[in-house]
Symmetry: C2
DNA sequence: GGCTCGCTTGCACCAGAGTGCAAATAATGT
DNA sequence: ACATTATTTGCACTCTGGTGCAAGCGAGCC
């Protein structure tokens, strides 16, 4: 039996730190998921007008969804003339997901 | 230049399939995150009454949060006398997160 | 059987999120 | 300067989600 009470707070804090609600909130909308999937597919900076096609809503709504994803660090935006092109931060997103998984594993590993 | 147009739909579908909005919806609330973190820490089935301590709300609300997490497959519940003990499906959760990361990597790998 | 404890569920309420429309801003072309 | 295209933002609306309170249900205890 290892010291079960030795570092529980640290474990909890690390997990709670890794599992950022804002991150999940950004991805809990089906339209935002389809945006992410679309950008993952094309993998090159895409204008708002083009992205609108994959969502069934007004472009103003799409613009707002894009802002939410950008603020969460999931997308990056860059102006190109009068277009604004969005691209998926694939590496960063994948890393974030794996860090969460790692934090979970570390928590359960401490008890065995 | 590889065949860029060869399997974009499959890629998109695989990602959209892996990135389930319901999963993120279950984790987009700060109280639910603290529940997950608490259960990851203790790592043993915990009663609702004990879980309530980590959230600042009424136990009825906690019960509802637990149901949401259970329905999403993130927690498991088992009756023990008059207690209902919840535990975190750590392995399953970590696997889900890694599968998402893998699906993302696969999408971007197809283009290079 | 009645009682208490532990948890869930119905109800009403309030705050927040998504949406469309229209106006505002940004950048380019004429 | 004006018109046009691309995107963002303000506004109002609706719908969903989280919350507390109170009632209901399930399981053990007297």
């Amino acid at each position: 039996m290892t010291n079960k009470k030795a570092l529980p707070e640290r474990c909890n804090a690390a997990l709670a730190d890794a599992l950022e609600p804002e991150f999940f909130k950004a991805l809990c909308d089906p339209i935002r998921i389809s945006i992410v999937a679309t950008l993952a597919e094309t993998c090159e900076p895409t204008s708002v007008t083009d992205i609108v096609d994959c969502c069934g809503i007004d472009f103003s709504g799409v613009s707002r969804h894009l802002k939410i994803l950008k603020d969460a660090g999931i997308l990056a935006a860059e102006r190109d003339g009068r277009h604004v092109r969005y691209r998926l931060e694939t590496d960063s997103l994948a890393r974030t997901l794996r860090e969460m998984a790692d934090a979970l594993d570390r928590c359960s590993a401490q008890l065995s």
